[in-house]
Symmetry: C2
Subunit: 127 residues, 2 copies
DNA sequence: ATTGAATATGCCTTGACACGTATATGCTCT
DNA sequence: AGAGCATATACGTGTCAAGGCATATTCAAT
């Protein structure tokens, strides 16, 4: 199974992870919400657990699975250089549009506002 | 082939993408730098191109491939909720450590500095 | 101790995909 | 036109992982 990227390549596993963002869940709850057969859920959880994406605690017959963010941070780290790349490209696009505007003289303020919003977004967070 | 996640699950494709961050490259250059057979490179480039990760321009017999950041932004977007999750967890860990310290009375300032650095890092960019 | 619920595991089949090797296409130069 | 380089594609093969189904395990309650 190797890398974190192969783990999150599987759609059902991504669904499980997304589900666990809000709160921890039992296998049965996952099964019901994602409408997938129980063995499928268990197998994917096994993979996720072995790869460190989730952890589990025992609650009687149930097992509660919760997220462990570290492996996902690896993905985030890999993405870092590309983030620099695409903000550079955004800036280049902006400059290009600005040049166009110096010719056409149209609404510049609206785009300025958008650019500000994008910069915020690039910093992460923000709902 | 479907999703962007399956595309970047392949190590050679990730290598190609990383290589293209610095600048555009011909097939032959990729082949040499990554030491993989030419058909392999061409096939992976085909996949990356179909999925929109790269674009190509023709230069006589060569083809120059360059990065297109949009699909990677999808990955970044998917990661967003988890980023919130793990910074919440970092904070919780910090609070926990702080409570421990109130008992053990040890170096608190060093950790405060680290927390600040993490917050910067979460905003993206930097370095 | 037995039954039933919740979860895990084993086996089998199927399909996708990566690779190697060979070959095709396209361009340049003489 | 022909030779040679750069890149793309076709085909056959092996591997591996996901799904379905059956079954095993574990715990609770009676």
């Amino acid at each position: 199974m190797e890398s974190v990227f192969e783990i999150i390549a599987e759609p059902n596993r991504r669904a499980i992870l997304s589900l666990l963002v809000s709160s921890q869940q039992s296998v049965g709850e996952i099964e019901r919400q994602l409408r997938m057969p129980q063995p499928t859920v268990s197998k994917h959880l096994r993979v996720l657990r072995d790869a460190g994406f989730v952890e589990s605690t025992v609650d009687a017959q149930r097992r509660l699975y919760r997220l462990n963010p570290e492996p996902l941070q690896q993905v985030d780290d890999w993405l870092a250089p590309f983030r620099r790349f695409w903000s550079a490209h955004l800036d280049a696009l902006e400059r290009h549009l600005d040049r166009m505007e110096q010719v056409t003289q149209t609404k510049k303020k609206a785009r300025r506002r958008r650019r500000g919003a994008n910069r915020e977004r690039d910093k992460g967070e923000k709902k």
